[in-house]
Every structure is written in structure tokens, then in C-alpha cells.
């Protein structure tokens, strides 16, 4: 089961920046573009696992801080000619509040145990 989880407000994330959401399955990087679009990716570059949340955000891509791979924010796919995908999560923004679609069964189970 997946569930929408509130993670915060748009203005909590710097413009052209990112913040991290910690989950039992690993970190999720939540990005805010210059046009206030919000995207969420697994916080691991498909190349060598670099934390994408620490990269420079421009347009709809983020540049990994470790070796400058560019990752598309909407799909998680590396920009050609690099190949690989870091995996993305659905997000929605309602009245400035961001929620993230996460597999909650596992979240709950993890929080119970």
C-alpha cells in the first residue's frame, strides 16, 4: 500500500534547492525548482550513490555533487549520454503543503517493530 504523507511546505525548501526526507527505506531528496515545481527522487545518484540533495538544481535537473552527472528531476533518469535511473516518487502540492507518496505498509511495520 502506498500512502500520501505530509512532509512540509514549499517554502521550507530553498528555491533552486533541495531538502532530505529520511525514511526507513533510505533518504528521499525533495527538490524545488526556480518555478516552484516540487520533485522527489531517491537521494542516490545511479553512478556512485552520491547524495543528489546536495547538488546544484537548474531547470528540471540536478547535478550530482560527486561527479557531475545530471539527473532529470521528473523521471530520475540520467541525462544522456550518461545512463541510469535513481527512481522518483510522486509528489503533490496542495495550498503550499507538499505530500509524498510512499509505501507506508513498510513504514508502519518498521515503526512498530
Amino acid at each position: 500500500m502506498n500512502e500520501w504523507i505530509d512532509i512540509g511546505r514549499v517554502e521550507d525548501i530553498p528555491l533552486q534547492g533541495a531538502r532530505v526526507v529520511r525514511t526507513p527505506q533510505g533518504d528521499v531528496a525533495v527538490f524545488r525548482t526556480i518555478h516552484d515545481e516540487i520533485f522527489a527522487l531517491r537521494d542516490r545518484c545511479p553512478h556512485k550513490g552520491g547524495p543528489l540533495s546536495q547538488g546544484i538544481v537548474s531547470g528540471k535537473t540536478v547535478t550530482c555533487p560527486l561527479h557531475n552527472w545530471n539527473i532529470a528531476l521528473d523521471t530520475g533518469e540520467a541525462v544522456a549520454p550518461d545512463k541510469g535511473c535513481s527512481g522518483h516518487f510522486p509528489v503533490k502540492v496542495v495550498e503550499g503543503k507538499i505530500s509524498l507518496l510512499l509505501p507506508v505498509e513498510r513504514v508502519k511495520r518498521a515503526s512498530v517493530s
Binding site: I5, I7, G8, D12, I13, P14, L15, Q16, G17, R19, V20, V21, R22, T23, P24, D27, V30, T33, I34, K48, G50, P51, Q54, G55, I56, V57, S58, G59, T63, P65, L66, H67, N68, N70, P81, L102, V107, K108, A110, S111
Partner: protein, 813 residues
Amino acid sequence: MAKEKLVLVGNGMAGMRTLEELLKAAPDMYAITVFGSEPYGNYNRILLSPVLAGEKVFHDILLNDEPWYRTHGIALHKNCEVTKIDRRARKVIAQDGTAVDYDRLLLATGSNPVILPVPGNNLAGVITFRDIKDVDTMISASQNLRHAVVIGGGLLGLEAANGLKQRGMHVTVVHLSQTLMERQLDETAGGMLQRSLEERGVEFLLGAQTEEIIGKNRVQGVRFKDGRETTADLVVMAVGIRPNIELAKQSGLYCERGILVNDTLQTYDPRVYAVGECVQHRRQTYGLVAPLFEQAKVCADHLAKLGIRRYQGSMTSTKLKVTGIDVFSAGDFTGNDQTESIVLRDPGVGVYKKVVLQDNRLLGAVMIGDTLDGAWYFQLMREGTDISAFRSRLLHGQAHLGDAGHGGANAVVAMQDQAEVCGCNGVCKGEIVEAIIGKKLFTLEDVRAHTKASSSCGSCTGLVEQILAMTLGGDYSASPKEKPLCPCTEYTHDEVRAQIRERHLTSIAAVMQHLEWKNPDGCHRCRPALNYYLISTWPAEVKDDYQSRFINERAHANIQKDGTYSVVPRMWGGVTTPDELRTIADVVDKYHIPTVKLTGGQRVDMLGVKKEDLPKVWADLNKGGLVSGHAYGKALRTVKTCVGSEWCRFGVQDSTKMGVTLERMTWGSWMPHKFKMAVSGCPRNCAEATIKDFGVVAVDSGWELHVGGNGGVKVRVTDLLCKVASEQEVLEYCGAFIQLYREDARYLERTAPWVERVGLASIKQKIVENAAERKKLYARFLESQKYAQVDPWAARASAGVDRHEFIPLKQIA
């Protein structure tokens, strides 16, 4: 709205390159139609010689096959010659009656080979060397004919002669002048080239003017003005090319030798553009590929209505595409009474190198046998570098200028395919060659994107360029004079910076708006550069944009491979105290920091700090009097010192005190790249000041100041700037040098390449010879330091600056 219609006449390299550039810049702007008189897609004409020599086949040199045209929605009329342009009705009409309307027309009709006006020039067996059909004719001739005569001892003629010889024919080259390739080579070089070709069995008839080609239906021989005669079954005329301007002329476009174009590649009819060998620009016509590509880029820009770039002519270099015979020529290689030449000649190994200089700047170069440094000389020429600092070693090549990184392995041709070229990304020669051929790459940028070679530290850039040159054959020298800052703009670093100054731009958004950035918020390459240019130009006004800084400068610590950070506190001049060390030890215990080690610059590095802990770590360090060491920044890093006269029995000055004073003056300043200093107390130089950006070496009578050194991949020893007597002078010269570097160098250019690019002489002139200028630079440095010397750790540790940077948005479960 219907798309505008663009018609290209000429399906060759220049026209197609323009379309490719246009598709990159504005993929959907035009409905495109292409006319080509040959029955193929676009192929790489510069590689015809290797096809003739049997080193490549036609398929290898095809650039755009027919599916490519379909994928891009381009209507291709191949084997279809355009015979008429109706400029009033804006229509082109082809031989077969096809008529196509245009809104804009691009002419890229190339050139035609010159046919000598002698009797017999139309006999069967008399051909030129221009397209793949000619190559096919020569290949089949070589299978059943014996004697080939090539008329013309220029680039093309010699390549044809070599190819035919490789294919087993008996070849004679006939040349009007006494020197081969006399437009590219001097007498000595021409003679050496002739001997190498003679060793391969090619024969020469020099100073021979063709009078008649003999034969009834087929060619049988050639007769010369002086009465000599030679047998021939095949005659290849390679006496030059002439821009193909028939169509343009007929349609009333103004032509001289070529179709006249302005700096935007427009003809006298502004709807009609022209590029390539058919054009004449500022009295020049070009027959090499690099200028055509430069034209293509500018033309595409204007077709895409970006309208910001001008073509200002090209400087060209030539290489002969004959495997095993290396010839390079560029610029003015003869010189005159205003110039000087340096010559190196070693007949034993067949090497000849000559450079022509004026005022310590390179005007031209010619080389035989060892052409490795061609690309380097060409770069020195284009950039107008003052070479006085390494004049005595100039002819020995770049490898001898302290290039410890790749100095020994420069012979690309001899390199094994498995040999590693790019040590950062583990890319070997074979992979690069394969990518160049398989993916049809032309430029350094392409190779970087596809293979990653040369995309990290850049020390192998020269090697990669040589591999490109070797693989693509001769005329590769594609990089334009000065490269744009990044793909978001056409402006160079220097142009952007000048605009920031002149228009008083004070934000990244303003720069991007005024200079019409292609991507609305730039990319990871231009944003940090722009941020630096802004804060260094207007220190009092500009708000530092942290989102445009690389993570290390945003987090004020160095990111490690596992996402943790390392923390390096400042230790002034490398001097510490028991209390400072106790503070560090306590912090390491308290935050369970896994590794503590000393850095190369005499500081303590704590590695493996979690990002959330950084503000707390800094708070504790601050309490013990320790501040940020900026080990993470494009900034003043450390001042390394030896103990000097306080303790050392050899020391002649107090180098430690001097180091501390320098570090107190310079800490916190942002630079184009990292900046390291050192102070040694005597000429034994224990602080290794001569491989630093700014090094001070004490002598009995004062201080020697050294600049432009670095360790690392490409070690460079400093140049001596000057000697000064007092401590105050050291500070003034140091501040002035740093400020000049901050104002003049390009972002991410360290002092070593900067000094080599602008020349030590120009730096000396501003800092040593001109006291007023030095004082102004020094004053500007001190002024900007007023805004820079704020400990970024303290602000974040206690004042809560950028709190969001260090804590997660949310913790789930």
C-alpha cells in the same frame, strides 16, 4: 502557425553542420529541405584520403545517413542539382523541375576542383580528387592501370599520390614550384617531406609546367613546357579548388572569388545565408574544416534568431593526412624582417621544427616528423600568449614545461589502445578512438560528454585533442578561438565579466536576462562562475547566491564519497597551541569522528562528520578559538611555513610570523580557484614555496616573491615575480597579485594556467613595474576583504544561518 521554410542547397559538411547546430538551438523552428547533387547522405570529405589509402571504407566516413534526415523531418533531395533561385518569388528550382519555396535560404555549394586549361584535359582517365566518385575511380584504376600522374604537389595532391602508391600504382607527382606544399611549408620542410615520400616510392617532377595531356581517347602521357614527357594511364588534377558560386552569381547575389558574406554569414540578400568553401568573408576563402564549423555555429545561431554571435574569420592550421608522415603548418611560417625564427633541425631522425615570432608572440609554425606540439603552438598563436618565459624551451614542446602528468606519454600514435589517457575516469585510448569513430564525434566537448575523458581534472585535454586530430585526420582544430562560458551562452568568460562590470549587473538573474541566457536558470557550470564574477566585481553590493555554489561552499565543509563531510579549522601559518589541540581532540571524541589526519598544507582534517553535526562541531571549535579553514572553497586555503629564524640555525627571516601575517590578511577571500601560499625562511625552501600560487622565500637581504606554481596532476614550478626588502612590501605585492588574479583569471582557472595564458610579463608590468597600479590593486583587495572576512562557521553555529541546510525536512518513522 505554419513553420518557416528553410532550404539548404548543398548536402556537404558545412551546410549539414549548420543544420545540426540549428536543430540543437531551435529544433522546431523550420520546415527544412536539403538539396544535394551527390547520390548519398552527408559524408566526411576530409577523410577521403584515408579511404583512398585503404585505411577506411566509405561507410566509416558517412556522417548523416538517410534515416537521420527522416528522423529529423528533413526532406532530402539527393542526386538533385539546384539550377535556379528565384529570389523575388523566394523559390529554388532543381534540374528535375522540383521547386521549393523558402523563407530563408542557406547556400553551401562548396567548391569545384580547378581543371588546368591544357589540351587533353577532357580525355578519359583525367580526373580530379574531390568526392567519393573520384575516389572510386582511382581505386578501380589502381586495380588495372599502372602509371598515375598527380598534377599538384599541395596537400590534396600528395594525399592522392600516397593513396595511389599504397594501392600499388607507380606514381609521379608533378609540381609547378620547386617546393612541395609551398603555401604551407618552407623550403627545408618541403624538401624533407619530398624525401619521406620518395622513400615510399613516390617520384617527383618539380618545376614542371604541364603543357598538354597526350592521348587519343584515353590519356597516355603528359608533356611539359620544357619538353619533358612522362607516361600516364591516370592523371589526377589536384591543383586547387575554386568556390562554387555559379548558382549564387546567376541569381544576382554579389560574388567576388566567393559569395560575399558579412559577420553573420548573410549574403547581400538578407534572407540568403551562405557557409563553407563557397563563401568569401573579409577577403578570405577557406578550404579546411575547422573554419567551416565555426561559420556553421554562427550561421545556425542567426537562423535560430538568437542573433548574438559574430564570425570574425579563422586562423587555420594544416596537417597532412598521410599515415606515418607528420606535417604541421600554421600561420606565417616564413616571416619577414620584423620577425625572428627559432629552428630545430635533426636530419638523423627526420625532425624539423620552426616557429616564427614577433614581440615574443607566435605568428606561425611549421613542423615535420614530430608534430605533437602542433595543437599547442596553434593555441599559443590564437591566444597571443607572451612566450618569453619559456622561449628557450619552446621548440622542445609542451612536455618540457614541467608537465609531470603526461610528459612521458605524449606520443599518441604510438600509444597502445589499452593505454590509459584519462586517469580520473579510467578511459583508455581505444575507447576514445572507438567513440570518435562510432559516434562520429568532432569536438573535445563531444568526447568529454560521451567518454568522460578530460572532463574531470582536464590534465589530459591535450592528449585527447591529439587523439581527435589523429583519428579524424588532418584539419581537426575545431575549438573556436575562445570557448563560450558554458552551453547556456555564446559569451566567453571574459565577455561575461566585462558585461557585469560595464552594465553594473549585480545578480545572476540580471546577467542571464541581459545576456540572453539559453536556459532560464543556467546550469551547474555557469551559475557558480557567475556568482563568483558578481561577488568579486561588486563585493559591497552583491548578495552571495548560495544555491549557485557547489555543495562544499554551501555547507562550508568538504563532501566525501559516502555523503559525510570533513572539517578543517584554520591554524594560522600552521602554528597551533595545546588548547587548540585539546579542543580538536574533544570534538573528535564527542562527535565520534572516525578519522583525523594532517593535510598537505599543515592543518588538521577531521573526516566523516555527519552533516547534521556540522553546526555543533563548529560551535565547539569556535569556543576553542578555531574558525573555518576554507579547505572546501575556491578561496585562500593555507599559508604553509617553515620555522624560520626563530628556531632554525639556517633561517634568515622569521618565515612563521610572515606566514601568519599573510594568512591574517588574505583569509576568507573568494578566488577563481583554490589558492595556496607558503613562506620559507631561507633558500633551502622547506615550505616548498616554489610550487604554490604565491610563494615567499626569505633571503638575507629580503624576500623573493614567486607566483603561479602548483603541485597536483601537472606540477608547475613558480616564476620569480621580483625581490622585495620589507615585510610591508610582501603584503602589498601579495595583495595586488591576488587581486589581479581575482579580477582577471577565468573561474576555475588556477594561477599556473592563468600565468601561462596571460604571460608573466604582463603580470610583472602591472605589479612590479607600475607602482600606482599595484597600490590600486592592493587597495581593492583590502576593500573586498572587509566583506569577506566573516567566519562562516560562527554564523551557522550560533546565529542559525542556513539552518535548513543542515537538518532534514522530515524524519519519517
